[in-house]
């Protein structure tokens, strides 16, 4: 029989390459994973055989991910660079997927036309589109594709027992393993086991006359007949799975993943979190959802029964947290480690042959005849049209998803950052990116500098990271309080990680950087703000690594490509014969089991109809609910929700449309009012939760108590506001808020100030430190310091003064010891100090000892972290002594001091007052440092308050500070012996520079309060300027 080329397959390949090959250039770089794979590829291209990578975290091993795809990109990058490698591998994966689906469908359906249909449909299948163009999971795609290529070979081995097929199937399994580890393991369970079942069925069928006669007994007989082949295949593939990526398994055993699970959308309840439902259920299933009855019907027919079971389990596991079953089946640990979307992907891939079959039967098979006979030709056309339209819609929708809801920040030009890191030895320190999304991987691939962060969370090692459910520090704001909590530990003690530079693409993080003692360096030409921290030592030239045996390195570097080579040699003949039709080949044995496409079951058609109507009904209801929830003028609650939502996303025009039009506030006026409000709440807060309580509801007006929770970089804010909504022309609107009318007396102000500039290097030289250009460290003096315990919470408090003649950046590092001089904890001063001091300026300080400060990290980290709330640390050894190391460095930035406490009103429980901005910069976040003293004016405690609103130039802002409630306060140690400034003893410095100090000089200016535990307090002010002029 002369065999002609399968036109459908060729069409599918051409379509697939043209469609995906064009679109990957616009999608792949903005996917979640592609750039991570690129980073790994960069690693291999630089050091093929050395698995240790220093660039991420504090070093990690690339043996934590199967290497084939990365090594392929690395190899191709030698021709045209990393991105060329990435796109080339992506194109290969597209071809592999389409041909894989074709071969799998051919195996299942034994019909070339049907398999061709399946291949064409696979090109546009929404789960494939999503995996490639949104997730960028190349290894996963290659894994499943090669697995599909392996399936016919496995079938033929089991059925015919020819060793050739055993070799080809194992060679393909090996390629699968080296490209993705999870695919073959679960592939074994979900694809190969049912396939074995199918082979046994086929063998049984051959022994009897019809499918009906295949009884369990016959089946069992065939099973025993094939038992040897099955077992030999099973054992050998197990050997291959373990052997090909042996270093991976050894690494997993040595470094088990012992981290707090990171939330993933695929584990959500899809009904509650609809966005996860869309991405992890609706899109991958797509049109297949309508055909579910058909798919299940077909797979539950006797021959495919095991596929039926498999796809059922996959479907259920893919539902994530919607049903309790996945959690029960997988167990708590596996449930929290695995991303469950892959089950849906496999289920949808498994459905593709059946989808092809359905399409074939609908277009020119028995289904067409049945529908035309029963409902007429017009109905058939309409049904076909609807299905085709839905299919195309899902394709367009999936492809454009990242256009409408970008998953990544705008593309960042990396060259300025790379240049910055190469300049002036900046790569001698670690850096951190903020708000880069997955593009941080691309930056890491381009520079030699190291970062404390990373983008492959399974490989993290620092307890600061593994004990918190956050993926990256980089996007910590999306992880709420835990994320910010983890980030601020790195920001407070950066010298521990040699972290000196931060590239910020998100101004949200600016306040926390400032109040942790960082300063702005400059804005790069791509708009990225560079922050630096003074007094951080450079990385040592030799960094620690976990070395592995040489033979493991050699295995890791050679085996993946060997598997490809072997697979290629073994399969190339078949490939060429199939492609070029050089000789007539006998049809494979599974062609003996053709399906009968002559009589479509009427019941099935009816069920499909019912199901479609049901699905349509659910969709319509869902859309209706969505509309009700999102029609912002529909009810006062909706109006309030929509208003806050618009404010949160800075969509002021939308917010303005919700303001009562009767109030006659023009958009220009509204924007003006918005533009003059600055501060923590209006510029740096993200809405976390909102509760509205309608207190008074009439037909046309409603009052609402609105409680909003905001996450700011500094603290969690709960705000209660009273809003009034009115109904105009059937639509609900909000009444506008009133403005402050404070009017400064002058139009133009003049002010003098001292400004500073540090040249850096006067001479253009690459000398490490040109000794003439090194400024003297400013001399600081610790005026008082003591270790105190307040409500079970240890802290070092005190007062520090810059006694030099230049402004100083202050870093305070406290260490606690017990009686036996055992080190218990180390931490730096965070919010409770003015990090920049003018000459002779003083500041109170407090060093809190937070989670990671303690030497036994695991015990002490609180489950949930609130930046402002403190969890007392329980431990047996009591701190009794302390050591304080103070370092000063000359700094010319952030020296704005023109903030005045202009009025104060003391009550028993709180203090109300006014701050006045007497200078020419707008204060974005004012901070009050409040020091408590006892009746004898002995310093006891330091507290702080961030004022939510900013203060404009020459204007006032009121504040309310709640005095601390009574608390148990003990001074444990006030010995000032172990205090060092710039490495020198504090006392010597003090005696030399200020020998005749007036002790407790300003004690007469302390504010008296009425409090059982405290006698006096003192206010100091600190300011963060968001936009310095």
């Amino acid at each position: 029989m002369k065999e002609s080329s399968n036109k459908y397959l060729i069409t599918a390949l051409l379509l697939g390459l043209a469609f995906h090959g064009t679109s990957i250039f616009f999608t792949l770089e903005t996917t979640y994973d592609a750039l991570i794979h690129l980073f790994f590829a960069d690693h291999y291209s630089n050091s093929w055989f050395e698995p240790w990578n220093y660039k991420w975290y504090t070093g990690f091993t690339v043996m934590s991910y199967p290497p084939l795809v990365h090594q392929s990109i690395a190899l191709l990058s030698l021709i045209g660079g990393l991105k060329f490698g990435l796109f080339a591998v992506a194109l290969i994966s597209i071809v592999l997927f389409i041909t894989g689906v074709y071969r799998f469908s051919l195996l299942i359906t034994s019909n070339r036309t049907v398999a061709g249909y399946a291949a064409v449909l696979a090109v546009f299948s929404s789960s494939f589109l999503e995996t490639l163009h949104i997730f960028g999971q190349l290894p996963s795609i290659i894994g499943i594709s090669v697995l599909m290529h392996a399936l016919p070979e496995i079938y033929l081995w089991l059925k015919t027992g020819k060793y050739w097929y055993l070799a080809t199937s194992l060679s393909l399994i090996a390629v699968t393993v080296t490209s993705h580890h999870v695919t073959p393991i679960f592939g074994m369970v979900f694809f190969i086991f049912p396939l074995i079942g199918m082979v046994i069925m086929d063998v049984s069928r051959e022994q009897v006359n019809s499918m009906k006669e295949v009884t369990f007994r016959v089946f069992l007989n065939s099973f025993f007949k094939l038992f040897k082949r099955i077992i030999s295949f099973g054992m050998l593939s197990l050997v291959i799975i373990i052997g090909c990526i042996l270093p991976y398994w050894i690494n997993s055993k040595n470094n088990p993943i012992t981290q707090v699970p990171i939330p993933h959308g695929s584990r959500d309840n899809f009904l509650e979190i609809t966005s996860s439902g869309l991405v992890f259920f609706l899109i991958p299933w797509g049109v297949l959802l309508i055909l579910l009855p058909y798919i299940f019907y077909r797979y539950y027919s006797k021959r495919y029964i095991f596929f039926g079971l498999s796809i059922t389990i996959l479907t259920v596991l893919g539902t994530g947290g919607t049903t309790p079953i996945p959690r029960m089946v997988l167990g708590e640990t596996a449930f929290n480690i695995l991303t469950l979307d892959r089950f849906t992907l496999w289920a949808s891939v498994m459905s593709l042959p059946i989808l092809g079959e359905f399409a074939f039967r609908l277009v020119h098979g028995d289904l067409k005849v049945l529908i035309q006979n029963k409902f007429g030709a017009v109905y058939h056309r309409i049904i076909g049209g609807i299905l085709a339209a839905l299919f195309v819609f899902m394709t367009i929708f999936t492809m454009s998803l990242s256009y409408f809801r970008p998953s990544q920040p705008q593309k960042i030009k990396m060259v300025p950052i790379v240049n910055f890191l190469n300049q002036d030895d900046h790569d001698k320190w670690r850096f951190l990116t903020l708000g880069f999304g997955d593009q941080m991987a691309w930056l890491s691939a381009q520079t030699n500098a190291l970062t404390v962060d990373g983008n492959y969370h399974s490989a993290r090692r620092l307890p600061e990271l593994t004990t918190r459910p956050i993926e990256r520090l980089e996007n910590s704001k999306f992880k709420g309080v835990a994320g910010i909590g983890s980030l601020q530990q790195f920001l407070t003690t950066p010298e521990k990680y040699n972290l000196k530079y931060i590239f910020s693409n998100d101004k949200f993080y600016d306040p926390i950087l400032y109040f942790c003692g960082w300063q702005r360096l400059r804005q790069l030409e791509n708009g990225i703000m560079v922050w630096e921290r003074l007094n951080v030592p450079p990385l040592s030239s030799i960094l620690p690594k976990d070395d592995v045996a040489k033979w493991l390195k050699v295995l890791w570097g050679t085996i993946p490509f060997l598997t490809i080579l072997i697979a290629f040699i073994l399969n190339v003949q078949m490939l060429l014969v199939n492609a070029l039709k050089t000789r007539i080949k006998k049809a494979p044995v599974y062609f003996n089991f053709k399906n009968d496409y002559s009589k479509f079951s009427r019941g099935l058609l009816r069920t499909t109809h019912f199901w479609s109507i049901l699905v349509a009904g659910i969709m319509v209801y869902g859309i209706y609910l969505f509309y009700i929830k999102n029609d912002s003028h529909r009810s006062p609650e909706n109006a309030i929700m929509a208003y806050y939502d618009a404010l949160d996303f800075k969509q002021f025009e939308k917010a303005h449309k919700l303001i009562n039009p009767e109030s006659k506030i023009s958009i220009a006026q509204y924007m003006l009012e918005i533009s003059v409000t600055d501060g923590l709440l209006s510029s740096y807060a993200k809405l976390d939760a909102i509760y509205t309580d309608i207190t008074n509801h009439s037909d046309s007006t409603a009052s609402a108590k609105v409680i909003t929770n905001w996450i700011t970089p500094l603290e969690k804010i709960e705000k209660t506001e009273f809003k009034r909504a009115v109904k105009q022309n059937g639509k609900w609107y909000l009444e506008p808020d009133e403005l402050k009318n404070d009017l400064p007396p002058d139009q133009l102000y003049a002010d003098n100030s001292t400004s500073y500039f540090n040249q850096g290097r006067r001479r253009i030289t690459t000398e490490q430190t040109h000794h003439e250009d090194v400024l003297k460290q400013p001399v600081l003096e610790v005026l008082s310091s003591k270790l105190v315990k307040y409500n079970n919470h240890y802290a070092i408090i005190g007062e520090i003064q810059n006694i030099d003649n230049v402004p100083a950046d202050v870093v305070l590092k406290g260490t606690l010891y017990n009686d036996a001089n055992k080190l218990l904890a180390t931490y730096n001063a965070k919010y409770h100090v003015k990090h920049k001091l003018m000459p002779k300026e003083t500041s109170s300080f407090k060093i809190n000892f937070e989670g990671v400060a303690w030497s036994k990290t695991e015990d002490s980290i609180p489950k949930t972290f609130n930046p402002d709330e403190f969890t007392p640390v329980e431990f047996e050894e009591q701190p009794t002594k302390f050591n304080l190391q103070v370092d000063g460095n000359v700094s010319g930035s952030d020296l704005y001091k023109n903030i005045v406490v202009s009025d104060i009103d003391i009550k028993n429980e709180s203090i109300n007052g006014n701050l006045f901005n007497s200078g020419l910069e707008e204060i974005t976040i004012p901070q009050l440092l409040v020091t408590y003293y006892n009746e004898d004016k002995t310093m006891l405690w330091v507290d702080h308050l961030f004022i939510k609103e900013g203060v404009r130039q020459q204007r006032k802002q009121d504040f309310e500070y709640e005095i601390l409630k009574n608390g148990e306060l003990n001074i444990i140690n006030s010995d000032m012996k172990n205090i060092f400034v710039n490495g020198l003893p504090n006392e010597d410095i003090s005696n030399k520079i200020v020998p005749n100090r007036i002790e407790n000089h300003t004690n007469s200016e302390l504010q008296k309060i009425n409090h059982p535990d405290f006698g006096f307090i003192k206010f100091e002010t600190n300011t963060y300027i968001g936009n310095p002029n």
């Binding site: 009318n741 202009s902 006045f916």
Partner: protein, 405 residues
């Protein structure tokens, strides 16, 4: 490898010597050093010459504090010539040499001295800023070196020079242990000191030391204000006298001065300023009610000012409150200032509404064109009678049993 051979050599020589001990008695001086000079100038051509009796060519081992090497001889006129390599010959210090022949070898020392010329003046000075007053000092360290980077001989004369204000001083110091150093003390004045040094007619470059003022001493403050009314709008500026240290040096720019204001109620308000040419300026907004302020400024722990008293006169003697719209619209005003002009926008007016001595709500608003309007919403305050009190500019008006409907 070399070690191994050395050991084998040693062993064989021991063995051999035991056999031939009688013969070798007089052959110990197979080699004899001909060069008599033991001191050389760095960089000179140094050749050690030996007589050679039996045409053997042993290697010469030589070492100095930088490292060791062996030298292969050349034979000239039946004499062994060992040329000491430049890497050793150009470094000042002792060179130990030893002939590596089989028998009892001969060894010796050479002394290499630096050239008596100065090529560079390696100079270090620090700290780069010191305090005026004569107690603080900076240290100048000079290492005159020759063209081969060798420090010059002990007791080389170095002329340390510095200029400060009108003084210019030269001082002779001598190198000791390779370096010459001098502590330069500050004088009574602050200013800029330029330092250089000279040795054997070679001069160093210029170095700068900043002599900054010492800690400040007490000073006085004054206040300047457009008027003495408590209008809550104008700004009073506090200025210090020129702050100087005990030696009349003006403190460095940027010195931080704290101003504490104690008001009538005994509460502490606070403003601050940094000095420019010794004068710190701080601003404070006027209070919006009658006040007596006493102001004192501090440089913490070091200096303080006199106490300045300021009085602010009340501008608003009285204000009107009008109720309308079922008493739910409360208008406060006109709020008039000292010339009966409308008070500038921004005066704070507080309305407190309470019922049965229970405070329900406090609203704070700022005046606009001399008026403030409060609207008491019916859905917050049900129809009832309440006590309403209004506070502004230190005045308070209370309306008992105001009925809202």
């Amino acid at each position: 490898m070399i070690n191994k051979y050395t050991y084998i050599l040693l062993l064989t020589s021991v063995l051999l010597s035991s056999f031939t001990s009688g013969q070798n008695q007089n052959s110990t001086s197979d080699f004899e050093l001909l060069t008599t000079k033991t001191q050389f100038e760095a960089g000179s051509h140094i050749v050690l010459k030996f007589t050679d009796s039996d045409a053997e060519k042993p290697l010469l081992y030589c070492s100095n504090s930088f490292g060791s090497t062996v030298v292969v001889p050349s034979m000239e006129n039946n004499k062994l010539h060992y040329k000491i390599p430049a890497s050793i010959a150009s470094k000042k210090g002792m060179v130990n040499w030893k002939l590596l022949n089989n028998e009892a070898s001969i060894s010796g020392q050479l002394k290499i001295v630096s050239k008596q010329e100065v090529a560079t003046m390696e100079t270090y000075i620090g700290p780069p800023s010191i305090e005026a007053g004569g107690t603080d000092y900076t240290m100048l360290v000079v290492i005159p070196t020759d063209s081969l980077d060798n420090p010059l001989a002990e007791n080389t004369l170095v002329n340390a020079k510095h200029q400060f204000l009108s003084n210019q001083k030269n001082e002779d110091i001598f190198t000791k242990n390779l370096i010459a150093f001098k502590n330069i003390y500050s004088q009574l004045e602050s200013g800029r000191m330029l330092v250089s040094s000279e040795s054997l007619n070679t001069n160093s470059k210029e170095f700068t030391i900043n002599v900054t003022a010492a800690i400040p001493t007490d000073f006085t403050i004054s206040a300047k204000r457009p008027h003495d009314y408590a209008d809550g709008n104008q700004i009073t500026t506090f200025t210090t006298s020129i702050i100087k240290d005990k030696l009349e040096n003006v403190v460095s720019d940027g010195t931080f001065v704290n101003f504490f204001i104690t008001n009538k109620k005994g509460n502490i308000l606070r403003t601050s300023g940094t000095t420019i040419s010794g004068v710190a300026t701080a601003r404070m907004i006027h209070p919006d009610y009658e006040e007596d302020w006493s102001v004192k400024a501090y440089v913490d722990g070091m200096a303080e000012s006199n106490v300045l008293s300021l009085t602010y006169k009340q501008v608003i003697d009285d204000f009107e409150v009008r109720f309308s719209q079922n008493n739910r619209d409360v208008t406060v005003g006109p709020l008039q200032s000292f010339m009966n002009q409308m008070i500038p926008d921004g005066l704070q007016v507080k309305l407190t509404i309470s019922k049965d001595n229970l405070q329900l709500e406090t609203y704070s608003k700022t005046s606009y064109n001399g008026y403030v309007q409060f609207i008491l919403k019916s859905d917050i305050f049900i129809n009832d009678s309440y006590k309403i009190s209004i506070k502004t500019a230190g005045l308070e008006k209370t309306f008992e049993n105001t009925k809202l409907w």
